[in-house]
């Protein structure tokens, strides 16, 4: 098409609202337009790329025999009541009433809808296993939408659901989706995505992986072992052991610490390091109202996901307890000895075998030094509820080669089990005619976020650097002085017509702009082949200047050789 007609103007300035590179480049390049908080329009360039990503996903889903369907975004409260999630999910589930006062939701995920759609559609065991998927709009009323397309409220998602008559069948299908996901990431240009063990969160179920693109702008923390390749989201990463720091036993001794209520203040006051101190982190569980006190060595943070999983609590059912909550706890001075609070007490693994730590004395303005839990409290159970550190031991190979990186989640897969089929009463008849609830897996990829992630991983300076598989155009022709030099115009038009006839999707920059503007815009459009036509082309015996996306060099190619040159180049690219 002619660039003068392309809707979505490039912006001269870096957008001030952009917090990450993909957000900035998508706005600057005219790919997206913000409509409201966390809600965007895809302009033509954005839509072209997203359509290509969707097609790659669709192809990989079809290859593993998943059947495409389309479920609605609006669902009834009644449906979400069937799984209990209408009540258990927080305010990210958007609830409203229709004109007849019927309570409805905007779907943020489709487990209930899938099962309901399939009631009576797969009654015999012979249909199993099978999978369905759809690529559809979802709405999640995020508290803090951020970073352009990375965390939005309205988004397009591919979500697939598989159904099984045995755990082995679920495990096999899970593996197929796992491989299909890796193919998808490779084909859209980010083969470096890693799968990490993840929390099953509100979905329930027996196992889960997230696919993570490691990059600085990611919100998630990923723990990686370079020895055995163990990968896990920090939320569910464990360590096989924590080195003991304070090995020398000491006498217990109370000391005066007026107004010393934080670890920082205590370090300064005692001239000790964090690992010589113990801390108490205090929560309230909303199901019973009871207090939960976690003791942990002070160089470590409590991992609230692991803690919630230990306590079998939903996302929002555990909150930090505040000093203002009247009770008999000496906030800032809590320790394991003489603790009289009515609370569940949890000891983190980092405290095991420590012979001497400083802890609060459970008395205002006093701490104890020389605390030895085994000696002073007795036998207690130690559990792993703190965040893994790079200095910890890998839980699989027990080596000390962990590293922690930031990551963006670009997909997730879950083994759900029979939670939803049971609650919605979906069953099949087995070979004996008995009724059973099928097991389910679910598999999601956010399309817009995947697009933004590709940019996070691949963009350089102001170049989008998309791979040929998803670039909005195959070829970009940039003629200089197109509107002023007739020879240049004729040559560019000839090449444009030639390549369009060959079936390529070609963009011709027919605008009256200088070379700087044209090349800057071209970097934002990111076609894998750029052909420059200029006065020099004519002077050089009609040799066109060609630059391909995976090289910094330009080649000179005559018009006659052009089609073959492009065909050969494209064959080299595997996506």
């Amino acid at each position: 098409m002619l660039q003068s007609k392309l809707i979505g103007d490039t912006k001269k300035e870096w957008p001030s609202e952009a917090s990450v590179i993909s957000h900035g480049l998508l706005l600057k390049g005219g790919y997206i337009k913000q409509m409201a908080t966390g809600i965007y329009t895809l302009l033509p360039l954005g839509k072209k790329v997203v359509a290509k990503i969707e097609n790659i996903i669709r192809e990989e889903m079809n290859k593993i025999d998943a059947q495409e369907i389309l479920m609605p975004i609006v669902a009834t409260k009644k449906l979400w009541d069937m799984s209990g999630r209408y009540d258990s999910v927080g305010s990210e589930l958007l609830r409203f009433k229709d004109r007849n006062n019927v309570e409805m939701v905007l779907s943020m995920t489709h487990e209930e809808a899938t099962v309901f759609s399939l009631l009576n559609e797969a009654a015999s065991y012979q249909k199993y296993p099978f999978s369905v998927y759809h690529i559809q709009t979802k709405f999640r009323d995020e508290a803090r939408p951020r970073a352009g397309l990375i965390r939005v409220r309205e988004f397009t998602m591919k979500d697939a659901y598989s159904f099984h008559t045995s755990q082995e069948s679920l495990d096999e299908e899970y593996e197929k989706f796992f491989c299909a996901y890796n193919k998808i990431y490779s084909r859209v240009g980010i083969p470096q995505v890693v799968a990490v063990a993840s929390d099953t969160g509100i979905m329930g179920g027996s196992g889960a992986h997230e696919f993570m693109l490691l990059c600085d702008s990611g919100e998630d923390k990923i723990v990686h072992c370079s020895s055995c390749n163990y990968n896990a989201n920090m939320e569910v990463a464990y360590t096989s052991k924590v080195d003991v720091v304070n090995e020398k036993e000491e006498k217990i001794e109370k000391f005066y610490t007026k107004d010393i209520k934080t670890i920082e203040a205590l370090k300064e006051y005692t001239n000790l390091k964090s690992e010589n101190l113990g801390k108490a982190v205090i929560y309230k569980r909303l199901d019973t109202g009871k207090t939960v006190i976690v003791f942990v060595r002070a160089d470590r943070e409590v991992n609230e996901t692991k803690l919630r999983n230990l306590l079998k609590l939903d996302d929002e059912a555990l909150v930090p307890k505040k000093e203002e909550d009247a009770d008999n706890i000496a906030y800032g001075f809590v320790g394991p000895i003489n603790l009289k609070a009515d609370a569940e007490i949890i000891y983190d693994k980092s405290l095991e075998n420590e012979k001497s730590l400083v802890f609060g004395a459970n008395e205002k303005d006093y701490h104890l030094k020389g605390v030895n839990i085994l000696r002073d409290v007795g036998e207690v159970e130690y559990v792993d509820v703190s965040k893994v550190l790079e200095t910890d031991y890998c839980p699989i190979c027990h080596k000390k080669e962990l590293s922690i990186s930031n990551g963006i989640e670009v997909g997730n897969i879950f083994k759900l089990g029979d939670k939803y089929t049971k609650m919605l009463n979906m069953f099949y008849s087995d070979e004996n005619g008995d009724k059973n609830f099928p097991l389910m897996g679910c598999y999601g990829i956010g399309v817009g976020r995947l697009f933004a992630s590709v940019i996070e991983a691949r963009a350089k300076d102001n170049k989008l650097n998309l791979p040929p598989s998803i670039a909005p155009f195959d070829i970009h022709i940039c003629p200089l002085d197109y509107t002023k030099n007739e020879e240049v115009k004729n040559m560019a038009d000839d090449v444009y017509n030639l390549l369009q006839e060959k079936g390529y999707d070609v963009l011709l920059d027919d605008r009256n702009k200088n070379a700087g503007v044209k090349f800057a815009d071209s970097d934002l459009i990111s076609a894998p082949i750029r052909i420059t036509v200029s006065k020099r082309t004519i002077e050089n015996g009609n040799k066109l200047e060609i630059k391909v996306f995976d090289s910094d060099n330009t080649s000179l190619v005559s018009k006659d050789e052009l089609v073959k040159y492009i065909e050969d180049k494209r064959k080299e690219w595997v996506f």
Copy 2:
């Protein structure tokens, strides 16, 4: 694919909830599943057909250089306030609040969103004209969803918007869309769709057409002139004149009509026909609160769309006035003579030149006969606010060859003018650098309704009879005794593999079902080519039985000739 794996079971019984044939066949064939009132899931067969329809629409949009975008379904009240439609649209616009109490809507159309998306994206006149479109989910909170996919609440729509710097340019583009729409209807198998002049309703603007599929299950009434091909929706159909019925002048005379308040009762009482009577239809306009009385000859109905357009009132701003509304009107006995009500009086064209009619006497229990408006009331203005009858004169050729049919609206196009660009302050700089508001056109097709309409037009008995362009599979292989006869199975598998290798989308019925069930299901699946493999095939020297969708005959074709036979057949089909 193997039919045993296809999700979406066919149902034995005709679905009791089906009110029209498409609704019944889509449920029976396992194409759709109802999730809530007016909300459906498309199961695999449904999704396949809809995807093909969407691709045909996409191709025709791309051919006229419309650029595809994707706008969100959730919009802010603030956006809809810019056009004033947040207040002017009724409760079919679903309004809700997000977690931060911001007022939002589910978009039922995207004029505001399109203009907002394009603010600052088309600043120079050189980009004009241009069009954008998207294929996206909409929600319209219908009071009475009905007829399966014909009138739903959540639906997928292709809506396009064009932008212009002159009326001529808008007219030209409108013509392009008009032609593209006709191509779309032809390609999906309903070339008989007609374009009719339509009301511009809440959209505003200078002209509009609806595309109508004429069929008994349609809700709209279409007026057609077989002489000049004039077509109009009843809502906006006019007549050039109405024949005078009561030509003989008579003396005016009051007569006693105790409790005779309806035309039916008056006809019986007087032994006259409807056309000898006049009636008064009484409304209240909500903008001023004032009463509106329409006088019309009693064989005709008031056309409320024409009346609202005459009064320049929105859809919901005119309501029937009830007798309970206290005023000085003698309900059931209202007429043009001695009328003392404080009301706007409107005389329908059907009263012009009538010399003697029975009307209410504006006095309880009395009517007048012999009413001659010219003689008894004086000169009044007659306007055309009644529904056209088949006995009327065509407004274009003035011949009396009108017919009225039912129709389903399968698309609409509007010339919007600058209403939305002005209200949202979208402008471009013209050649002199002056700022102007572009003119807009908008162009919509509901995808699901189009699918259902194709079925309404084409289905016969329990056969879906879809055209090859949108049938869910290219070829359906129906082997009889597949699970019991090894020769049949081998032959069917060979043919299946052969045709899949040739790139066709083939469904193989590998189920252990009898011929009756297989053929009934095949009729619902509606592949344009059906290949039957049976014991007879083997006995007949491996001649396959082939039936194509556009013929009632079957052909016997050997396996060796099969591919060529299919290729030749497909070349004959133009869609």
